[in-house]
């Protein structure tokens, strides 16, 4: 066979030297393209997927974790997700697993993009037959797409730190959230802004699902409350230069500017706000100033920023919460921020649902989720069920803590709490 090919190739070259050369190169080009595609596919699959399991005689219960582990996803959130679920699996397996079966994690990289996340989630469901999916994601647009996959395959999807209302407002029985949502965050902003006298408010929002959702709910909440003058400025999420938009805001002289975007865009915006002379109080729409790269990218421009979060040192933890905090501190030598607490609760929600259903079948877990009741890290967890609203398979008992960074290098645990709502 190979002789034939060689023979043909030679004859082409002999008869049509120039054309034959081009054909060879053209074939080489096709091969090169195929190789690149194969390498990308194989590379993507191998780098994005990791398996963690504990050997046991019983068939393991497999959880699919889809988290942003590469850009443009919020990689730091992805790493926290991975750290927390691994710690949870280790803890549960050391205590006999669930229903006597060990827990296995199948981790996939969403890259913070819809296409990659949907593909990864479908593969985990179809190929790995996972019982349930954990959306270790803070990009609401990605989670919204994942929720349609969950519905199609009737596989439960647990969410903790993606805020878009639509995630639970769709009322898919497969989707539940033990975490905050935009309308609630916005409503809790109102008393805080009133208390500090910030009446002329500008919302500086990223053109992503999160940014658009957050700015819309914030604007709606402030206008409904009355007494506020609200303007919204949106920017593309790929942008890095915000000086024209910020110049416009500076000219409007707002009392406060609420930054609703991912840290990739908000951090340079904070520096550029100082550059164009924007003197308004900067308020993060979510707690990105607690992320590790905040100070290394914004420097002294970040001093004075206010951000909302859902955990403070004064929170009274349950025994489960205290246990989690000590495990986390022992493992990672730092105190956990709020996201891992909520994720720990999501994992325990799955454990409770599987135990109650006495089954690790996806359909049985979906049926059991609305009735779960267990001790979470900060209180008793039950899910609200108000059909047609965002409070569907949604935990609603949050307090919002407003913290202020008063010096370069401060972190979430030593930032000053300036208000608690409600």
């Amino acid at each position: 066979m190979s002789n034939n090919i060689r023979c043909n190739s030679n004859s082409i070259r002999t008869n049509f030297p120039i054309h034959g050369e081009k054909m060879r190169v053209s074939r080489r080009l096709s091969l090169l393209a195929a190789l690149i595609m194969t390498a990308l596919l194989v590379g993507g699959a191998s780098s994005g997927t990791a398996r963690i399991s504990t050997p046991g005689q019983e068939e393991p219960i497999t959880f699919g974790i889809v988290a942003p582990l590469s850009p443009p996803g919020e990689v730091q959130a992805g790493r926290q997700t991975l750290n927390t679920v691994r710690m949870w699996a280790k803890y549960v397996n050391a205590r006999g697993g669930i229903l006597g079966r060990p827990v296995k994690l199948v981790v996939s990289d969403s890259g913070g993009t819809v296409a990659k996340a949907v593909s990864a989630m479908t593969q985990r469901i179809v190929n790995d037959r996972v019982c349930c999916i954990v959306a270790g994601e803070d990009q609401s647009g990605v989670v919204l797409a994942e929720s349609t996959v969950a519905k199609r395959y009737n596989v439960p999807l647990g969410v903790d730190y993606a805020f878009d209302d639509g995630i639970t407002k769709q009322n898919y029985p497969q989707v539940f959230r033990i975490g905050p949502y935009n309308t609630m965050i916005a409503q809790l902003f109102v008393p805080f802004l009133k208390k500090f006298g910030y009446r002329k408010v500008a919302i500086f929002a990223e053109g992503s699902a999160y940014g658009q959702g957050a700015s819309a709910t914030m604007k709606s909440a402030l206008q409904s409350a009355g007494g506020f003058r609200v303007t919204t400025v949106q920017y593309p999420y790929t942008a890095r230069d915000f000086t024209p938009q910020l110049t416009k805001l500076a000219a409007q002289k707002p009392d406060a500017v609420i930054l609703a975007g991912t840290s990739t865009t908000t951090n340079p915006a904070i520096v550029q706000a100082k550059e164009v002379g924007l003197t308004a109080q900067l308020i993060a729409a979510w707690d990105f100033p607690r992320l590790p790269d905040f100070w290394s990218t914004v420097g002294k421009a970040g001093v004075g920023i206010i951000y909302p979060t859902f955990y403070a040192n004064t929170v009274k933890l349950t025994p489960t919460g205290r246990l989690f905090r000590s495990l986390y501190k022992k493992q990672y030598r730092s105190l956990p921020p709020i996201h891992p607490y909520l994720l720990w609760d999501v994992m325990n929600a799955y454990k409770t649902a599987i135990t109650n259903a006495d089954s690790a079948e996806s359909a049985a877990i979906v049926k059991a989720i609305p009735k779960i009741k267990f001790e979470g890290t900060t209180g008793q967890i039950t899910l609200a069920h108000k059909p047609g609203t965002v409070e569907f398979n949604q935990w609603t008992r949050f307090k919002q803590y407003f913290k202020k960074m008063n010096a370069v290098g401060q972190n979430d645990s030593n930032a000053k709490v300036i208000a608690v709502v409600p």
Partner: protein, 294 residues
């Protein structure tokens, strides 16, 4: 009036960087007749090189700028002499497609490598002139922005001198006008193509280092740079350096004024709208005729 002045100044300052990026891209197109989709990756490499020299090695940003330019140039020379060798040898049926695949693949590779080496987080550098300036109470910009603009102007000036006052530049212009004719009269097309690619990559690397203090360094910065460069090159006319300079500045001003006086939401759309209009009304680009006189 104050706001208008601030808008125009900011537009010109960012436009200078756009021009520098587009000048390199159009040089490669003019000389080699191929579109380099790795231009954004080369810009990103320059920014990371500056970060490593400035933060990891602790050297001043001036040194970091030189290092980023040199690194970009050497990397570009490597791409041209190794990966684009079949194009230079003329043994490719469709060199445009070949270069597209190679440079697009290279963009993915560089992005993944930088994440693996430097991590996915954003990084900042110390800056060239780390201060915020104000003229009166109405014109505000950072010292780093002035340095970035000044550096871009100086590098563009150097490129123009190279193109119009050296043998290399004469060779490039000859290749742009008629590649076969230039080769017949003894112009070394392969060597000059390598040099054009290296120069373009060096300029992209320099642009990355110049803006690193302004935008931070992260694995997503190349995307916007690539898009802006292509918009400018298409509007100006493929291969026109003078056009790239003019349109680059114009795009900066257009985006700034559009963002402030129409809507900031459509900042990227203003450039695309201009590009669509130009393609419909003058497909060769605004400076398309001058393309032949590179």
């Amino acid at each position: 009036m104050h706001l208008f002045a601030q808008t125009i100044v900011l537009g010109i300052l960012i436009g200078g960087i756009y021009s520098l990026l587009a000048a390199g891209l159009t040089l490669v197109f003019g000389v080699m007749r191929v579109a380099n989709f790795a231009h954004g990756a080369l810009y990103m490499l320059g920014a990371y090189a500056a970060y490593y020299v400035n933060i990891r090695l602790g050297l001043p940003m001036g040194i970091a700028l030189i290092a980023a330019t040199a690194f970009g140039g050497m990397f570009g020379y490597g791409i041209s002499s190794v990966l684009l060798r079949p194009v230079h040898r003329g043994v490719i049926d469709q060199p445009g497609n070949y270069v597209l695949i190679i440079t697009f693949g290279l963009t993915l590779l560089v992005g993944a490598a930088l994440v693996a080496i430097a991590g996915p987080e954003g990084h900042s550098v110390q800056g060239f002139w780390n201060t915020n300036l104000a003229i009166g109470s109405w014109l505000r910009f950072s010292g780093d922005r002035i340095v970035a603009f000044g550096g871009a102007v100086a590098l563009i000036g150097a490129l123009v001198w190279l193109v119009y006052h050296t043998d290399i530049g004469r060779g490039w212009r000859a290749l742009t006008q008629n590649r076969l004719g230039a080769t017949v009269v003894g112009v070394d097309a392969v060597r000059l193509s390598h040099l054009a690619f290296a120069t373009s990559a060096g300029l992209a690397g320099a642009a990355g280092a110049l803006v690193a203090p302004l935008y931070h360094v992260d694995p997503g910065i190349g995307e916007e740079a690539l898009i802006k460069s292509f918009v400018i090159v298409i509007v100006a006319g493929l291969g026109s350096i003078a056009g790239a300079l003019t349109v680059g500045l114009g795009l900066g001003v257009l985006e700034a004024t559009g963002s402030i006086y129409i809507s900031a939401t459509y900042r990227d759309a203003y450039g695309f709208l201009l590009m669509i209009l130009v393609l419909l009304l003058r497909p060769q680009g605004l400076f398309g005729r001058r393309l032949r006189a590179l």
